[in-house]
Amino acid sequence: MQSHIVLLTLFAFFVSLVFAVIAKDDWHEQLRFGGMMFGGFLLSAVVLGWLMYPFPL
């Protein structure tokens, strides 16, 4: 398992899950909150990746 996208998705899943379960009590709210956080993680990773794309190693 050496794919960046897989590992960052996995990381985002665990962090979003724990934060959602801590922050909310109702499972609908947990799902919504966790889903938004998960989506935010993925979106920001893609956006930051593209922002860094023009810069050389």
């Binding site: 665990f14 899950l17 801590i22």
Partner: protein, 130 residues
């Protein structure tokens, strides 16, 4: 003002709760009757820690002369008993040449920090704040 016996018992119980919550992820919530939350933490946090080990991450030593290493060590310790089990089984040496090394470190450190957050949440639930 001296604490009453009831207050001292209460604070002793809280310390025990927090220790249990640290040692076994989710144990605090299970103890307080929050079964579904406790089970989720019990599964998710050790799993995240195990993935970090599988990704060849390192359990950092307590070297406070290099404060970032020391802080990482404290974060790793946050996961509780799984930290000691991993050490006893010889895991966590880290393989710096592995392409997944830094991801492994991230998983290990964040699993520990998230468990510390869970401990704080269990404390709040015990005090009736949540």
């Amino acid at each position: 003002m001296r604490a009453t016996a009831a207050e001292e018992t209460q604070s002793g119980w809280l310390v025990l709760l927090c220790l249990a919550a640290w040692a076994v992820p989710g144990a605090g919530h299970l103890w307080l009757g929050r079964r579904s939350k406790g089970l989720i933490f019990l599964v998710a946090l050790p799993l995240m820690f195990a993935i970090g080990l599988a990704l060849k991450g390192r359990l950092f030593p307590f070297d406070m002369s290099e404060w970032l290493v020391g802080l990482a060590a404290l974060a790793d310790l946050g996961i509780g008993v799984p930290y000691f089990i991993a050490g006893a089984l010889g895991y966590g040496g880290g393989e710096v040449r592995a392409v997944t090394y830094e991801y492994g470190n991230a998983f290990l450190i964040v699993a520990g920090l998230l468990n510390l957050l869970v401990v704080i949440d269990a404390y709040d639930v015990a005090l009736g704040r949540k």
